[in-house]
Symmetry: C2
Subunit: 460 residues, 2 copies
């Protein structure tokens, strides 16, 4: 047993887990990528002091630390490998405070987004940031990746919903960043800097969240099928351009739609068919749904509108079944580019071009309301001895073309999944070398010895 | 003429202004504070290249640079003094691009917020960030201070409405931070870091703004008078706690209200009377106005509701006349603390206590919807030979008590005006020494020689 593990055990006792199965789990997230070998230990922190003690030992011994929530990331950002400590925040899952009068909650990072939102519902409050993984992903992971979700065009991303974070630095010191007020401009906005920093600046051990009231009134669900994906993409861009703001606007291309129909045992749609699924909410919900339906019909969509919650849930279920349906097709690399909304049709053209050029299928779903696409690169590959499936070089080449196309269209490499280990080699392409170097220097202010999540984000 | 000015002149010709009147203007903003003497020159940049050339000369000669917009700041953050270059962005005021389909605009920093919004109205678009100074303050100044305004509880602060900024570093390099997409998590969020950084990280030479559609439907205005300020504060907190979200909710205490009535030649309200002025908008505007009116009546308010735009404007005019009314009372130090909304009544108790303890009058207006208060410390003082009025030490002592009370109540030193030169001595009280030092080190990554707005924010 290494000296580091011995020191951790002395300080933290049974919070230090070296069970081989636990170490294997900590190597991977849901991206399909895993570290080449297992970490030294998984520390299951229960208190801020546990985190501080872990970081002091890490600093003293020069040991890298990988912060980890529920392990649902899609970029390998929380994967821990040889010689590293996996610091799990999952057991720090308390709701510390709920203030309906101030529309804030103070929580620990390990609570699941869905659990938090259900607890807030009792107060009529709503935790709006809603990654599709909300029921299995933590608030801390949401903050670490700057995650998005389905509702962002209308209700914002997680950065818009966090007022402050408590951060343990690499050397174990605790900083309280941000504030409890709607407004506050005292010094630099380090809260926003930490959101999306993927464990490179410190360990988030608490967060003060800006809540919304639950939206009153009926939700209307609109499903529209189009003969091809370009028509669906143009229609979605037209909804935004017309000035109507649905809460949700999801697009599924033909390959996605066919796979989901097969999975759910539904009759196959005509070849090439793409689908838009939208929801409107709030006091103008019915009027907005009618206006959207009319616009989609004029653009050749076959449209169904429903105010019935059960029917709405049934329609959205097709979208929600995307990831299980992809798993039936083979191994997938789930990508995450984002483009200005008007560029959605052009981005779908680029995806079709890359499919032809590489002879691969790239079923794609898009949060069309905000221009965020998830192309799924499907491939066949055998797991290695450790059970890990490597992405073939040709798939990375195709992904490289996808990233460059998104940048050309004014977009970005990653809308909501983060850079992690999978995209670090493209980071400087988007940021430019000067900004890349400046960002790396900022991480060094927080973490001079470079022990926080090394090999991620700023590795190249 | 100094060597620096000679170099500026050679590079920038008539964009270098050394007219004594221009230099005097650059010493001060609207805080009442001014630098002890005048800067070397005012550079009136017209292009990004002008800014880069200025910064290269500044770096080469070790000359401090103070970025400046319209000079409407309230914390002295843009005041330029001896040996410094005042770099005015006011003439860089173009709208570079408007994209209604993507809900974005790209602008230069010198455009006035009001001018931008009027130009966007033609497209049905809205630039929501609305400092009370919107018609005289620039978008760049709004970004530099992280400004707020009247609509923030419902429509957010400026940080929520900026997707990217173009930043010239101290050494003249240009960085493009952020993105054009709704979502984007590629690397650290330097855009948010720059917002509110008050000229300490670089010179903002362009911004990509996230726009809203103009809100359809009628606006309803509610005015309610209460026998004392505590009753009005409790009523405003009750509106928030009841889950109704007005677009505007402004509170004026008795001293404010009396001064405005006198200024406008209106009949004086009964002694002690405080007023709430609210507006509701959007599709539920009428219902929300009625619910708010009913709640305020139950709490003892004398309430008037109007859907007539002219009458609404008349009611809001009382609030908008605050600053001119204060000027009739004497010299004022306009403060800017922010507290959680539930703490508004307690904060008004603290202000009353400080008034008694120091024998001074502190007329206070509050953006009650978001807990941001502007106490006005009124005092008599003669201008010095340079025309500058110094805030008396006793007034600073009273302000010091105000800041500490706000922090005790879970609040912040400055909700929207910034730290500038006036609040830098309190900055570490809120941040703590560790965070203060970390923030200062981050500024050094952007500006290793410390030539960007020295003596502001992080001076102590």
């Amino acid at each position: 047993m290494s000296d580091v593990v011995a020191q951790l055990r002395e300080a933290l006792g049974d919070r230090v887990d070296t069970d081989p199965a636990a170490l294997q789990v900590a190597r991977a997230d849901k991206s399909g990528h895993a570290a080449a070998s297992a970490p030294l230990a998984v520390v299951r922190a229960r208190t801020v002091d546990d985190v501080q003690q872990t970081m002091r030992i890490a600093t003293r011994t020069g040991t890298p630390v990988v912060a980890r929530g529920a392990g649902t990331g899609l970029a390998g950002g929380a994967n821990a490998g040889a010689g590293e400590i996996a610091l799990s925040l999952r057991e720090m899952d308390r709701i510390v405070e709920v203030r309906p009068d101030d529309l804030i909650a103070v929580v620990e990072p390990g609570i699941l987004n869905g659990d938090l939102d259900r607890a807030l519902a009792e107060y009529g409050l709503w935790w709006a940031p809603d990654p599709a993984s909300r029921d299995i992903a933590t608030v801390g992971g949401n903050i670490a990746t700057g995650a998005g979700g389905l509702l962002c065009a209308k209700y914002g991303v997680v950065r818009d919903a966090v007022l402050g974070v408590d951060l343990v630095l690499a050397d174990g010191r605790l900083l309280r960043l941000g504030h409890r007020t709607v407004k506050g401009v005292t010094g630099l906005d380090l809260t926003s800097l930490v959101i999306g920093s993927e464990g490179t600046l410190g360990i988030v051990v608490g967060a003060t969240l800006k809540l919304r009231r639950r939206v009153p009134g009926d939700v209307h669900t609109i499903a529209a099928v189009f003969p091809d994906v370009r028509a669906a993409a143009e229609a979605s861009a037209a909804v935004t351009a017309a000035g109507i703001q649905p809460a949700i606007m999801e697009l599924m291309d033909a390959a996605c739609l066919a796979a989901v129909h097969a999975l759910l045992g539904m009759q196959a749609p005509p070849a090439g068919t793409a689908q838009l699924t939208l929801q409107t909410d709030g006091p103008a919900s019915a009027d907005e749904a009618e206006a959207i339906a009319e616009l989609l019909r004029r653009r050749g969509g076959e449209v169904a509108v429903s105010a019935d919650p059960a029917e709405g849930e049934r329609l959205l279920r097709i979208r929600r079944s995307m990831h299980p349906a992809m798993e039936t097709l083979g191994t997938t690399l789930i990508e995450d580019v984002s483009v200005p909304r008007s560029a959605l049709p052009a981005m779908f053209d680029e995806i079709a071009r890359i499919e032809r050029a590489y002879g691969i299928v790239i079923p794609t779903v898009a949060h069309a309301g905000d221009g965020n696409l998830h192309p799924n690169f499907v491939f066949d590959a055998e797991p290695d001895a450790a059970g890990i499936v490597a992405v073939p070089p040709a798939v990375w080449d195709a992904a490289d073309e996808l990233f460059r196309a998104a940048l050309r269209l004014g977009g970005t490499l990653t809308g909501e999944h983060g850079v992690g280990v999978l995209k670090s080699r493209w980071l400087a392409d988007e940021l430019g070398d000067d900004q890349w170097e400046l960002q790396r220097q900022i991480t060094r202010v927080f973490d001079p010895a470079g022990i926080l999540n090394p090999g991620k984000v700023f590795a190249r």
